[in-house]
Amino acid sequence: MSIGNPVHRIDGKLKVTGSANYAADFSVGTPLYAELVTSTVGLGRVTSIDDSAARAVPGVRAVYSHANPLPVDAADFFGAGGRAQQSWRPFESADVRFNGEIVGLVVADTLIGAREAARSMRVQYEEQDPAAVFGASGLEPEDLPDRGLSMGDIEQAMEASSQRVEETYTTYANTHNAMELFSTTAQWAGDELTVYVPSQWVEGFAAGIAEELGIDAARVRVVSPYVGGGFGGKGSLFTWTAMVAAAARDQGRPVKLYVTREQGFTTASYRAETEQDFRLGATADGRFTGFEHQGREISSRADTYVVNGGENTARMYHADAVRTGVTCIHADRQTPGFMRAPPEAPYFFALESGVDELAWKLSMDPVELRRINDIDAEPVNGVPFTSRSLMECYDAAAERFGWSDYEQTVGARTEGDWLVGWGCATATYPTQMGPCAVRIHFDATGQARVWVASHDVGTGAYTVIAQATALALGIPVDSVKVELGDSRLPPGTIAGGSISTASNVSAIEMAVAQIHDRMGTTAETMDPTAAFEAFGQRAIEEYAEWIPPAASRQQAKTLYNGKVAIVGGAEEDYTAFAFGAQFAEVRVHKYTREIRVPRLIGAFAAGRIMNEQTARSQYLGGMIWGIGHALLEKTEVDPRNGKIVNANIAEYLVPTNADVQELEAILVPETDTKVNPAGVKGIGEIGIVGTAAAIANAVYHATGTRVRHTPIHVEDLLPQA
């Protein structure tokens, strides 16, 4: 059994009728409203704050700033094993570290009043020139030598090649822009705090808020039952969340903060820009010799955050020698964070563009070049893959696409006024999981309830958890009720690293096995009435803590501590990845050079698929985002003052329906019993990986112009005046 039933989302009706409560929808009596005030300079310090006009706005209760700070401590940075999106507190000093940083928080009786008061704040700065982007003077590179991989003699291997690619690829900054805006609502009842906040990690948020407020984590409850898109942007604790809770305590009233779209661009995390030096050599018959991938990634001054995709690009193909590395480039910017396939989306743009460039140099079909370098064990340490269906994915997608008609000639195909090009690329994502606990209640009426502090970020987690429980118990899906997104529930995993389904299903199967064990039942023969009669109880409840077999002692201990442990990918004794192949057709107008994507076909193999429908939607969503990554999304930073100039969704472009034409995801069957007891690989992120390279490769095929950056725009393909 490899592909699960396409059960419709059990929460679909709630969502389309508007009855699903997202974090900002919860009613907390008569709250006060908070509004952020953000800096208009990119570096420097606040010299004075005149809040007289703000305080004159009717209903204003308080104006907080470094001059009137809230009692909030810094929590440990996520990238250093903590929970917070950055390592410092905005009000801890008068310093301004990046453009759009929080410098004030206004609290008022009404939302409109809070907004008007925030706009009326007169903040004076001593301004300095920031180093905010690649190429600016004053950037601080930090070498991270222990993050690199090395195998064999790279120089010798490059020498031995007959064709080589040596290029620099760059990817621009991207902002998550989930449809659901950021918000926080905080309500105290005595010493007990409830926080409603869109979250991909309720356990970590609760622990982090407690850490920042200096209170017992047991007194903090974080509620986030539905999330309107996360993509990693709601995975680490927001800077403002504990501030809102502190303001609510100070005011003795619930406080609600809506973060505007523009403020979301500057105060939350983002995918930072990268520069990647890439080298790949091959013998005349296409066997790869040397592989080198060195990344440079923008981060903030204070925090070291890198995604370091070389760790995974190095493990994709055969190589005689490997060298990877990463440098953190400290700049006057917000601390970046994870965004869907954090390492793979940018680094596979380089790898898969580079492989295509080499295919052209070798005059080889790019699919065949990948076949020649297909492997059973990753090349760095020689550790075998648990399963690897890369070429099965290529073959399935190639057949559907009609790749047998591919002709490796630039501009070979035209349709009307459009040049047509084809390209392909590999998709992958490490198979990971984390410690996860679950409670299941099952009664004689045949109804089951499942509780886990997991998250449905639009992915279908409610449905998949219900399916897994129903399947394991031997009851219909609609007999299962699921509760998620509450830190008071048994600790689940962060909704990141594509780990939720593998972890949840493993824990559910463990708990259900305990039920069957006690009741003497099996899924195949389950008859609840008879079973409970024989058992002599009206109901049964089981609790299971599932720890991934490869987890270290330390990782196993994270379960009740609000810490993240992600196990998998390239481990000491196994290598676990999901694979896919993406094929793109592009059209480029012969005069004006707009690039459109009339066809995108992906094939993916990711072990056991729990729900064919929600899985396909995940893949398609990733591929659509890949179109954006390739052609549209660009967080534009003004180098002079670090300001993001397109901090709105009219000018920060994502694909519209009209940009998505023929789109297809093929689910390639795969059985992998080694990755985890459930046989599940994660599918949340793989869909975006490789799309940008497939599109860039197709653009080259159409036009003969090799664009080595994302996004690719019309000007990259224009004849010069």
Binding site: Y591, T592, E594, R596, L632, V645, E715
Partner: protein, 336 residues
């Protein structure tokens, strides 16, 4: 958003009497019709009017024949005009330009009176912390050395390179159009081509309208060959995106020879732009890639790039070529 008074008079003429003049800094009062620009800019504090005078239901809506010309009420929504047979069949450029603008939600509420007055999307205009001579005269222009990929290469000055953001006006400018205006002094008409003014050293002044003038309608004189017209819009994505470059083209042709060409440009200029020198060049020519591109070169002969937007010069030339080719390829049957 700053508090403001909302008032709804009984007639357009009464509205003109009620509205407080809006100064360059966005003070005073403003008219409210579709609201898609004014409310957006109020939320950003770029406009902070003391009062909004609602004229949405007071403006004439609809399109009809009048005195041999086409009359378009200023209260007509973009959506209603886009699908109107008079535009679709007689001057498809006027319909195309609307279909390719904004999103369905915006087209359903935005009206054609306000449409031609849509403000620029220059990011420095829209950010009250940035220097902008258009928003705050004398404060400087952050755009000339800033992130200016989407800004203008035609009609610019050292003080302002803000692009005119709309689409429909770039097609409307092809045709002899009278703008009907009501104001404190009564009713008058302005030739559409005279409505917008170049930024020069007064970029805060964008039109020849007075502070309390209200556009009530347009009288468009369509030549009988206007069916051969297109609006070619180059944008980064296929829908809901401002033009990187656009060309409205109408051609009067005899066989392969151009009797008369009219070219309007968008996305590249500070105002709706008529490329008259290129039109003159094309008269009497046979349309080929060479003559089309030469028309483009002529149209952009005086263009100036500002760094990020240098590419708009070759792109604009190519857009004209494409627009000419697409217009020439139209057949009368195909447009009906």
């Amino acid at each position: 958003m700053k508090s403001f008074a909302y008032q709804k008079p009984a007639s357009a003429q009464a509205a003109v009497g009620m509205v407080d003049p809006m100064s360059a800094a966005g003070q005073g009062g403003a008219f409210l019709a579709g609201g898609t620009t004014v409310l957006d800019l109020m939320k950003l504090h770029v406009l902070t009017p003391d009062s909004l005078t609602d004229v949405k239901t007071l403006l004439p809506a609809g399109i009809e024949e009048r005195d041999g010309a086409l009359y378009v009420g200023a209260g007509t929504t973009m959506a209603a005009a886009a699908e109107h047979p008079a535009f679709r069949d007689r001057a498809p450029a006027l319909s195309d330009a609307l279909w390719k603008a904004a999103s369905p939600q915006l087209r359903n509420v935005a009206t054609l009176g306000g449409n031609v007055l849509q403000r620029t999307r220059c990011p420095y205009f829209r950010d009250v912390a940035s220097a902008c001579n258009k928003r705050e005269p004398g404060s400087g222009c952050a755009a000339t050395e800033g992130v200016n990929r989407l800004l203008a290469v035609l009609g610019t000055s050292e003080d302002c390179i803000a692009t005119y953001a709309g689409d429909w006006a770039n097609a409307l400018i092809l045709f002899d159009t009278q703008v009907e205006v009501t104001g404190p002094e009564g009713d008058r008409t302005i030739a559409f081509e005279d409505l917008h003014t170049l930024p020069g050293d007064t970029p805060a002044v964008e039109t020849t309208l007075g502070d309390a003038d209200l556009i009530t309608g347009y009288l468009i004189d369509l030549p009988d060959w206007a069916w051969r017209s297109v609006y070619t819009k180059v944008r980064d994505r296929e829908s809901y995106a401002f033009a990187v470059a656009s060309a409205a083209v109408a051609l009067d042709m005899e066989e392969d020879t151009i009797r008369e060409a009219r070219i309007g440009l968008g996305g590249v200029a500070t105002v709706p732009w008529r490329a008259r020198a290129a039109e003159d060049y094309l008269a009497g020519k046979t349309l080929t890639e060479e003559t089309g591109l030469e028309a483009g070169r002529i149209a952009f002969a005086d263009a100036r790039g500002w760094g990020h937007n240098d590419f708009k010069i070759p792109l604009g030339q190519q857009t004209i070529l494409r627009g000419l080719m697409e217009a020439a390829a139209l057949t009368r049957e195909g447009t009906q």
